[in-house]
Each structure stands twice: as structure tokens, then as C-alpha cells.
């Protein structure tokens, strides 16, 4: 008996450790349920014509500007591009091998679908959307649950729920932030014991209509048609919302009052919308009515806003900048946003279809190289007309995701061992903190910084992921590659998703020559380090 107690006492700490490991594993787990990936390719008749129409629009533009577009990018570049955009990391060697073995005819289209069906897509895009819909402020402890919102958004994306349904739930649903994670949209505006209606009104216009009306909180917009009264009316749509023990609810009886900034007098403001009030139903809570109005099929702003945002996430640069300040849609005209928005609406606001469409356009598939950038002539026109794929700085999550992925030959995803996922989970937090989080506005163009260079060159992260061990990519490549040429090829494929050029071989092969064991490991570490530190690794191209 005594011995048994001793034994139990001895293993108690171990049980605690195992328990904690279990919790960590579950925290790092993807919240999205496993589903068999659908690898169906959307056929030409399905969305070929929309791609052609978008392409024609750009070809006309290039023709008018008298420029040639960049050549199409090669397939491996496109694989890297898609993987970074949709999954947040570069492809693994495992994936590159599968891809290269695949039938080249339409493999990019097939791999786009494959990635969209991957749970990593839902998880990664959920976090991108969350920045727009609930921001990055920490928010009120306990009542606000970002993690639940992520999980909810990821499952909406995974099941490809129509976008308007997702938005309607965020705006109008009731309940606790844990049971009904979509209400975190409203709860994110909870501050100092009250729901800030003005913050909700501003965010609603920016996120769902692509319009910045925040300045109309205090005065009429200086040049757009937004009036202070519009803002107040929109805020009043959230006027009945209330946070209680049962979570977010609507309190029907209280009129919404606003204090005048000059006279300090209170006046009642009825809920209203700034235009086309006929789209707003008369039945339902004010939030439900607002949600219906926003997602009304004739509300072009709603569809244009999400198209511009998805475009921004895919190119690193929105079609119209800033992403949430679009000009009013004009009657009778049709720009690229309108083309894509109309198709989006026609196809039940299918986000995955929208992404596939953009991924199939000539613009998305263009190279980021163009002779104009070497000569230094007409670069502005090339940038303005999207005649070459834009180069933008990778988000910190993409940099660390890619470094971690490159340190492993196998794909790190929901099927990976929990330790890999836990490492990814914790190291990402540390890395983003040091690299500098981008905040709510991820689509502003930025240059790199000195601390980022130091972090990539000298940090423990860099040491860890370039290190040659029996488990790491660097170690395995140095021991399994049959010769120096293959060894160098593998380093390049793993880090940069391409093979080395002739000049690169000339420079780097000698360092591998006649090496073995630890010396060879060091040489491979050095190559990994060099590839991690170039602009090519750190920028989308």
C-alpha cells in the first residue's frame, strides 16, 4: 500500500506534465474538422469566362499604356506563391515532389483547389479575416474570445459558407462569445463596461462596405457624401445591443441617444442607413435589419469590398488602396472589382470560387520580373497596371511559417505530430513579437527593418532552423543526398522552391566538395542561412 502511494507520488509530476502536453496539443490543434479534400477542378465553362473577362480588361489596359506584360511565372514560382497566400508557408519538399510528379497540364488549377480544401487554408484565412472583423486589440478579458472567433471563422471557411451568411451572423447574432463565437464581432467593441456603438459603426462600414466613415463620427466627411447624421444612424442600428450574463442581446425598449458635442444636449437618433433605405426590412431587430441591408444583392459596395480585400490578401496589395476606402461605385461602369463582384454574387458569394478565379487570372500568374525594372523605365506604369506580379514583404507569420516548414522535409499540417504543431504555435508567438506584428492593417506596404535583419541572421530562431541534426531538413539533406549537385538542389527547393542557377552552383558547390559528416552539415547549414536571409525568401514575388 505504502509502496503504491510512493509510486503514485513519484509519477504525479509526470502525469501533470502529460496533462499539460495534452492541453498544449489541443490548443495547437486546428479547430476545423478533418474533411476529405475535394480535388475537383473548376472547369472552363464553370468559371473560364470570368477569368477571360478579367484578363481582357488587363490586356486592354496594357495595350492602351503601350506596354508588354511580364511573362507568365513558372509553375514552381506559382506553387510557392499560392502556398504562401493560401496556407501561410512555402511548400514542403514533400509537396514539391508530388507537384512535380503531377500532370503539368492544369496542375496549378488542381493545386489551388487542393490548397483551398486544406485545413491550413481555413485556419490561415480565418486569422486574416479576424484582423479585419475583430481587430488586434486584446479586448476585454473573459467576455471577448478571439480564439473562439478564429475557430468559428475557420469552420465557416472550411465548409465554404456563403460570405453574406457569415456576415449576417456576425452582425446580428445573440449569445455568449464562447457558445456563439460570431458575437465576438460585437463584443470586440466592448470597452470600459459598455459596447462602443461608434466603433461598431465605423468597423461595419470599413469591413463590409469598404468605406471609411469614421471621421463622420464628429463631422461630415470632407469630400465623400458621408454626413454626421449617417454615422449616427448607423451607430443607432447597434443602439439596442447590450452585454449581459447571457451574452450579447438586444434591448428593444431603450431609445438610442447621442450627446451633441457642442451643446452637450442629448437627442434621440433612430436607426437608419445612409443610402437605399428600401433595402432595409421593417421586421426584426435593428441589427438583423442592418445585416440584411448590408448584404442586399443590390448593394455593390458589399461585394466590391470583399473582392478588394481578397485581391489584397492574394497580391499583398489591394486592387484599390487603402483596402477599406473604395470610391463610390459608379452607375454603368465596370472595373475589375465590379466584374469579380458580379460573378461572386451570381455564385452565392462563394469565397473559394472567388479565390480560384483570381488565382487563374493572367495577372496572378505573371512573373514578378520585367525588363522595365532592370532598365529603370516605365516601372510606375508597370506597377499601376499590374503588368508584373507585385513584390510585397511577407507577413511575420509567413516568414516563420516558411522557416519552420523549410526546417522539415515533411509537410507541417494538422496531420503532423503534436510536438511540431506545438512548436509552431509557441514559436510563432515569440517570433511575431520580435519581428513586429502588423496590427489590423496588414495590407499597407512596408520595407524591412534592422531588427528583422538581425533576427533572421543571428537569433536563436535562425540557429534552430538552419541547424543540421538527425531530424532537421539541413541534417537529412546533408546525409541523404547522393552527391553535391542533388544536395544543393534540395537546399534550394526546400528554402526557395526552385533550383539553383548556374552562377549559384559555381559559388556554392565548392563549399560542399569533399565534405562529409559534421563538415558537410556545416556547409549545408551555411547554405540554409544564406537562403533564409535573401530578399527572395522574405518577399512575395
Amino acid at each position: 500500500m505504502n509502496q503504491r502511494r510512493k509510486f503514485l507520488t513519484a509519477i504525479a509530476p509526470l502525469l501533470v506534465v502529460i496533462g499539460i502536453c495534452g492541453l498544449v496539443a489541443s490548443a495547437a490543434r486546428s479547430p476545423v474538422a478533418q474533411q476529405p479534400p475535394s480535388l475537383q477542378v473548376r472547369t472552363e465553362t464553370d468559371f473560364g469566362s470570368i477569368v477571360q473577362r478579367v484578363d481582357k480588361l488587363f490586356f486592354d489596359k496594357w495595350h492602351q499604356a503601350n506596354i508588354e506584360p511580364a511573362a507568365p511565372a513558372d509553375d514552381l514560382t506559382l506553387l510557392r506563391r499560392l502556398s504562401l497566400v493560401l496556407l501561410g508557408t512555402t511548400p514542403s519538399l514533400e509537396e514539391i515532389r508530388l507537384f512535380e510528379a503531377d500532370n503539368p497540364t492544369d496542375r496549378i488549377a488542381r493545386w489551388t483547389e487542393r490548397m483551398l480544401a486544406d485545413r491550413r487554408f481555413a485556419d490561415y484565412f480565418a486569422k486574416r479575416f479576424a484582423r479585419t472583423f475583430i481587430g488586434t486589440e486584446e479586448g476585454q478579458f473573459v467576455v471577448f474570445r478571439r480564439d473562439r472567433f478564429w475557430a468559428w471563422m475557420a469552420s465557416q471557411l472550411q465548409s465554404n459558407r456563403p460570405y453574406d451568411e457569415i456576415v449576417r451572423e456576425m452582425i446580428a447574432d445573440r449569445g455568449l462569445s464562447t457558445d456563439h463565437p460570431e458575437v465576438n464581432f460585437v463584443v470586440s467593441a466592448f470597452n470600459e463596461g459598455i459596447i462602443d456603438h461608434n466603433r461598431l459603426a465605423g468597423r461595419t462600414a470599413r469591413a463590409f462596405l469598404g468605406q471609411r466613415i469614421d471621421c463622420a463620427e464628429c463631422h461630415d466627411h470632407p469630400y465623400a457624401a458621408w454626413k454626421k447624421s449617417h454615422f449616427e444612424g448607423l451607430a443607432a442600428c447597434y443602439g439596442q445591443v447590450n452585454l449581459s450574463g447571457v451574452g450579447v442581446e438586444d434591448n428593444h425598449n431603450e431609445p438610442y441617444k447621442v450627446q451633441d458635442r457642442m451643446t452637450l444636449e442629448q437627442h434621440e437618433v433612430p436607426p437608419s442607413v445612409p443610402f437605399h433605405s428600401e433595402w432595409m426590412p421593417t421586421e426584426g431587430t435593428t441589427r438583423e435589419r442592418l445585416a440584411t441591408w448590408i448584404t442586399h444583392p443590390e448593394n455593390r459596395r458589399f461585394d466590391r469590398a470583399i473582392v478588394n480585400r481578397i485581391w489584397g490578401l492574394m497580391f499583398g496589395r489591394p486592387c484599390i488602396h487603402p483596402v477599406d476606402d473604395l470610391p463610390d461605385p459608379e452607375a454603368g461602369t465596370s472595373d475589375v472589382l465590379d466584374l469579380l463582384a458580379a460573378d461572386f454574387l451570381e455564385h452565392h458569394r462563394d469565397l473559394k470560387r472567388l479565390i480560384s478565379t483570381i488565382a487563374a487570372t493572367r495577372v496572378f500568374r505573371s512573373s514578378s520580373q520585367h525588363p522595365a525594372f532592370d532598365i529603370g523605365d516605365k516601372e510606375d506604369v508597370i506597377e499601376e497596371t499590374w503588368a508584373a506580379f507585385p513584390m510585397t514583404r511577407l507577413r511575420p507569420e509567413q516568414v516563420i511559417g516558411s522557416m519552420l516548414q523549410a526546417a522539415s522535409l515533411k509537410t507541417i499540417d494538422q496531420n503532423s505530430h503534436w510536438t511540431s504543431r506545438a512548436i509552431r504555435f509557441f514559436r510563432e508567438i515569440d517570433f511575431v513579437k520580435e519581428y513586429g506584428d502588423l496590427g489590423d492593417d496588414e495590407l499597407t506596404e512596408r520595407s524591412g527593418t534592422i531588427p528583422q535583419s538581425l533576427l533572421r541572421m543571428n537569433s536563436s530562431f535562425a540557429a534552430e532552423w538552419t541547424k543540421s541534426t538527425v531530424f532537421s531538413a539541413a541534417g537529412r539533406i546533408s546525409s541523404i543526398a547522393p552527391n553535391d549537385e542533388v544536395c544543393l538542389d534540395l537546399c534550394f527547393l526546400v528554402c526557395l522552391t526552385r533550383r539553383p542557377t548556374f552562377e549559384e552552383r559555381q559559388i556554392m558547390l565548392p563549399s560542399l566538395e569533399n565534405t562529409q559528416g559534421p563538415k558537410r552539415g556545416e556547409a549545408v547549414e551555411d547554405i540554409f542561412w544564406s537562403l533564409f536571409n535573401g530578399a527572395e525568401f522574405c518577399w512575395e514575388h
Binding site: 516601372e379 513584390m391 506596404e445 552562377e503
Partner: protein, 421 residues
């Protein structure tokens, strides 16, 4: 779409010139570093008390009243000024600074209030304002400083950011002060480092094909070069404190914050323009008195030693010192013996760099009944004073990347704190 590309290009051009300039000129001559007193260019040092220090347990005690809590008041070197007895050493050095007891802001949540107290603006959804330290290095760059000109020491929850001025005006963060700079030393010996750089050069050349001007705009090479230069700079020694006398190190306190304050002094000597040293842990929603007292044991020796050290080295005339948190704490004490967030009348210390010392500005109600303090001071006015003293045109409007003109600071200098010495 024209303006987009232009503004982007302009932005990158400005970025390039800022970086190019500040890193292409050789190191600080020893003479410049030796310059003292009013001759020196001014720097701005913030001692950030994260979480919201209680004014009642720091610089504005009301002992023996309903709101006073367990604190007593002690005399200080400023005639008539009493502060909490938790700060006996600071009481001896406080004449180097002035006390403001009537700071007001409208932000009572940590993140938003930290933004307010770093930038002088309330958070806005469509624009990130730069912190005051970032504005200082933007407007008053020093060519001779090879290490970052804005340094944040300690593990601040909400470090100061460059906002719309750009990420390169973010504070350079040192998470563990005193243990030299992080990520400064190459991972491998020199021969391997050279091989790595040669490899890197080869891939850089290949990648530049068809992307030459684009790559120049990324500033990737500029920042790498600047980082490499920094790694070999003599000025890096400022981050280490081994050469400081053991007595002095003990006086500052052998903890991250104490070391941070000592490193701050060393950085000031080099000519680093903006510094923040952060001490977290003032968020005492329960057991306020013991919580604040525990922080005081770290803050009091470090702050007092720092003030004395700066004064002894004749660095105070060129250094504006600001001691503040994001807000204060409620006069009332909650059932958990804690105090909650309170932006309506909190305290800060400010002085040095030409700001008059020995003044006491504002007054809070000893009974905690008045809505706000007497002689309220807005955050924007505090920062207009700081920028003005730093020689920055605080009202200067600059065009933000989204094309909206914005003043560096929307306040006016506080007259009493702007009087010439």
C-alpha cells in the same frame, strides 16, 4: 490609381534616404560623446510604468483620508512636496524633476491608454500615430549613432511604434537589458560568416534579374548592411554594463529594470535620441497597497540612482526624463482591496532637457469626490511641451501614407513647464 504608386514610391524613397544617411557616416567621435550639459543634442527618456501606477501610492498620496489607503507621506527635496513613503530614495532626488498631479485622458483600457500615452492621440481605426520617441528620431536623426536611435528596454506589453512614419521608426527592443544586445552576435565564426555572406550575395544577384529597381525599393540590402555594420560597431558596448562599477550596478538594482536604467544612461552618453525603460506590474486590481509597494522596491532605487547619475554626469540638461504609466488608479478601493483604472487625474514626473524642475502642477481631491483634478493637463499638451523642448516643430503637419495631413502633436506646450532656465 496613380497616387497610390506615387505615395508608395515616395515613402520608399524617404525610407531609403533616412537609412542611407544614418548609417553611412562613421562612428561618433569621442569628443562628441564627451560633450556635456546644454551643448549636447537633447534626448528623451521615458520610464514607463506599465499597468497603471497608483498616483496615491506614488507622487500624490492622501494619507489619512477615506481614499488614502495604507500609505504615509514623506517630505522630499522639493519644499512642500510630499510623496508616498514607498519612495524614500526618490524623495531625495525628486528636485531634478517636476510633478504633475492632474494628468487626464479619456482612455481607461491598457492597450488604448498605452497608445494615448505614447502618441498623444486616441487610437483611431484608420491610422496609427507615431510615438513621441519615433517623432524625435524622425525629426532629429543623429548621423553619428550606429546603433538604433530609439531603444526600448524591458518587456513592455505595448512598445512604442513608428506608426505612419514607418516600421523603421519603431523602438529597437532589448528584452533582457544588460545582457548585451540580442541577436547582435553572428551565429558562427568569421570564416563561416564570410562564406554565408558570399552565398547570400550569389542568390541576391540571381534574384535581382528582372527586378533590379524593385529590389532596391525593398531596402532589403540597406537594412542588411546597416545590421551588419551595427554588429561590428564599437557603440554596441553601450548595451553591456560589465564595465560599470559593482557599487553603481547594485545601486540601480540587480534586476531587469535596474539594469535597463543603467543601460539607458550609457545609451544617452552615446547620443541615442529616444529611450524607453519599462517596468510592468502596476495593475493592482486586488491588494493594491502590497502590489504597488512591491513595484516601488524596484522602481525607487533605480529611478533615484538614475537621476543622480545623470545629474552627476551633467547629462540632465540634455535629457528630458518622463516617468509615467498609461493611467492612474481609482481613488476608491474595491472589495478586493484593489484600485481599478483611472485616467481622470493621475500623476507623472517630468524634467530635464530644459524643462523646469521643482514644480508641482495640479491637484486631486483628497476625498475622491471631485469629477476631475484641478488644473487638468491633457496628454497632448504634455507631449507638445516635450517635442518643443526637443527642438521639434510639434505642430508640423505631415502627409500620412493615406494622404491625410496630420500634426505631430495636437496640443500646446504647457507654459509653466516651458519657461527658460
Amino acid at each position: 490609381m496613380q497616387h497610390i504608386t506615387n505615395s508608395r514610391r515616395d515613402f520608399l524613397k524617404v525610407a531609403a534616404s533616412a537609412l542611407g544617411l544614418s548609417f553611412s557616416i562613421p562612428g561618433l567621435s569621442s569628443k562628441a560623446a564627451e560633450r556635456r550639459g546644454v551643448e549636447r543634442a537633447k534626448s528623451f527618456l521615458t520610464i514607463w510604468l506599465g499597468g497603471g501606477p497608483s498616483q496615491l501610492e506614488t507622487w500624490d498620496p492622501h494619507p489619512g483620508t477615506k481614499i488614502g489607503g495604507q500609505v504615509s507621506a514623506i517630505k522630499t527635496t522639493i519644499p512642500g512636496l510630499q510623496i508616498a513613503d514607498l519612495y524614500p530614495q526618490t524623495a531625495e532626488q525628486i528636485h531634478h524633476l517636476s510633478v504633475i498631479r492632474s494628468m487626464v485622458s479619456k482612455e481607461g483600457e491598457h492597450e488604448r491608454a498605452s497608445y494615448m500615452l505614447h502618441t498623444g492621440y486616441r487610437p483611431e481605426p484608420t491610422l496609427i500615430h507615431p510615438s513621441i520617441g519615433s517623432i524625435a528620431i524622425h525629426e532629429r536623426p543623429d548621423d553619428k549613432v550606429e546603433i538604433p536611435q530609439f531603444v526600448s528596454l524591458g518587456d513592455a506589453n505595448f512598445p512604442p511604434r513608428g506608426g505612419f512614419l514607418g516600421d523603421r521608426f519603431d523602438a529597437y527592443r532589448i528584452f533582457n537589458p544588460g545582457e548585451s544586445g540580442q541577436n547582435i552576435k553572428p551565429l558562427v565564426e568569421d570564416n563561416r560568416q564570410q562564406r554565408r555572406l558570399a552565398n547570400l550575395n550569389a542568390t541576391t544577384q540571381s534574384f535581382a534579374r528582372g527586378r533590379k529597381t524593385r529590389i532596391e525599393q525593398t531596402l532589403h540590402q540597406h537594412t542588411m548592411d546597416a545590421a551588419l555594420r551595427m554588429m561590428t560597431s564599437e557603440q554596441l558596448k553601450a548595451f553591456s554594463i560589465e564595465s560599470e562599477p559593482a557599487e553603481l550596478r547594485t545601486a540601480y538594482g540587480d534586476n531587469a529594470f535596474g539594469r535597463g536604467c543603467l543601460v539607458a544612461r550609457r545609451l544617452l552618453e552615446i547620443g541615442v535620441r529616444s529611450i524607453e525603460v519599462a517596468l510592468q506590474g502596476f495593475d493592482t486590481h486586488s491588494k493594491n497597497h502590497s502590489g504597488q509597494a512591491a513595484r516601488a522596491t524596484t522602481l525607487d532605487p533605480a529611478l533615484a540612482t538614475l537621476l543622480k547619475d545623470l545629474a552627476d554626469r551633467d547629462l540632465l540638461q540634455s535629457t528630458i526624463v518622463l516617468v509615467t504609466g498609461e493611467f492612474g488608479r481609482t481613488p476608491s478601493i474595491n472589495p478586493l482591496e484593489g484600485r481599478d483604472h483611472w485616467p481622470n487625474g493621475f500623476s507623472c514626473l517630468i524634467g530635464g532637457g530644459g524643462i523646469p524642475s521643482g514644480l508641482v502642477v495640479g491637484e486631486t481631491d483628497p476625498h475622491g469626490e471631485a469629477k476631475g483634478p484641478k488644473d487638468p493637463i491633457e496628454v497632448a499638451d504634455l507631449y507638445a511641451t516635450v517635442l518643443d523642448r526637443l527642438g521639434v516643430e510639434y505642430q508640423k503637419e505631415i502627409i500620412t501614407p493615406i494622404g491625410r495631413p496630420m500634426k505631430f502633436c495636437d496640443g500646446r506646450p504647457i507654459e509653466r513647464l516651458s519657461a527658460a532656465l
